[in-house]
Amino acid sequence: MGILDTSPRVRAAALVAPPFLYALALLAFPLIAIIVISFWTQSGLALNRVFTLENYREIFSSPIYVWGNANRWGVLPLSLFVSATVTLVTVVLAYPIAYFVSFVVAPERKALWLFLITIPFWTSYLIRVFLWKVILGFNGVVNTGLQSLGVIEEPLSVLLYNLNSVIITLSHAYAVFAILPIYVALEKIDRSLLEASQDLGESRFSTFLRVTLPLSVPGIVGAVLIVFIPTIGDYVTPELMLGSGGRLMSNVIQTQFLQLNNWPLGAALSIITMLAVGIVSLVFILLNRRWLRGRA
């Protein structure tokens, strides 16, 4: 008896099984493993499998991770701050682009424009980060350009190996992820609503504030979540753009796992980071729900 002869329920289960097992093996198991390991401790090269909250105590009592001190922020708040800034910069820059493609570009050209916007993605992420190093570096495009124009005499050191360079690089890298959801939200706005607003006495600008912007909020929320969540876990950009100077959460976790060989502490840091991202996202979603209640 072949699978097609069985009941719909069995057939559905059989069809779902491969991706389900895949998700189980590559998502659920690693996650459970991380949770379990975060309650163990490292003893030399082996793991001590006695349940303990020691790692969490370490995280919340050390000034490094959460609390910081008078001179420097904790790594977690700093990472959240960087992600929030990247999100803000990305969404603020992406909105006009999405608006332009949706409202200004002729309908038959829109597909072409979206295609052009994705062109940076044809280059590997790693290479794009390196290209930003070339642009922002000590002898980079920006510094040599400004020097040859006589604007500056000494190369600017604020460009590279600090948080600015991380924010610039990440904002560029995630631009498309912000443009697309905002574009989709703008496309969904019935154009006669804009005419109705003008007909009722509003100028184009006040129409934007009273109609277009509120109706594009779902797209903005989507863009914020899509940029915020992955950037806080982004490892490559801070690793390359911060140099030896600073560390963000992802780098600290990587160090614990691969250099200091302290898996349990790394696992606990991962859990704390995930919880922080989860809470921020949840707050955002709830605010959005409240805003959209009975609307859109």
């Binding site: 019935d190 607003s197 003008q198 007909d199 009722l200 006495g201 009273r210 109706l215 009975g294 609307r295």
Partner: protein, 367 residues
Amino acid sequence: MTYSPSAAPLIQLRDVHKHYGDYHALRGIDLEIKKGEFFSLLGPSGCGKTTLLRTIAGFEAPSSGSLTIDGRDMAGVAANHRPTNMVFQSYAIFPHLSVAENVGFGLRRDPRSKAEKARAVAESLEMVGLGGYGARAAHALSGGQRQRVALARALILKPKVLLLDEPLSALDKKMRETMQVELIKLQRNVGITFILVTHDQEEALIMSDRIAVMFEGNIAQMADPETMYRRPNSRRVAEFIGKMNLLPATAAMERNRIVVDVAGLGRGAIEPDQAPSGVQPGATTVGIRPETLSILFPGETTDRRLAAGTVDEVVYFGDMTYYDVRIPGVEQPLTISMKNLIGRPVLDVGAVTQVVWDERSLVVLSR
């Protein structure tokens, strides 16, 4: 204020043209619409009626020609500065606002206090029969309710002109008929000039003080509903509005009277107003409406003119029956509508019958 034919023109269009690239959407529109008038722009899709409405609203700028509203030239005046408000075909209700917020949308710059504005919104909703709906979410409304919100939202601003872009086309038949009557009443109450765009000739006849029929960017005829129906000035207008039988005929002048010899029916003298587009001696076309013809049922007599024919097709509507009757010597069968009065049978296809006609109902259509 209600419409009177002598009222001063509120809207004047002079030789208005509109080009979209190669497409000539409006081809020299001359139009005067009076204060308090219920004016309809009627025509098939693509005739330019919506373009004309949007030109008056300020969403389209004419390529040439002038538009004045209440004596003021509208060239360069944006839609948000015109004394017009529009009810859109899609109603364009803001989905992120409540019913009251929608209706009060245009009151932002109104100097009145918040409480006064809220009262105005409530009154406006009351006027369109949606009293107490203010707090509802706009997206939860039915089609008819959305239309009422759109009306309230436009009328609360007390525009000089209310523009209606096929406002009833999205409603079902029953709802449409109800809204037609309500719109007429509303227009009489508020006294605002209404300009309605529609492709539904019946709707235009029911609601309007005057109708302009448009084809291909031109106004083909402008008249009150009765004239439009009884004295169309061309075959095209005649066939667009209601059903019209068209018959070949020969016209001649005899002792200062116009006499037409209608194929299959016979000769008859007509009055000058029965030839709204003029008449030349020789071959022409006459039109005759289905309800001005009748069938002589068995047992009935008449002193009017008769023509013999056979029933070709019977369409039964309940209150009415439509017969197609073939008359010898005429290619197209004549359509005749008969009220199904007591004792009147419904004839069968093939029945031999007599058609009663009257020269007073003929209209000569030389174009």
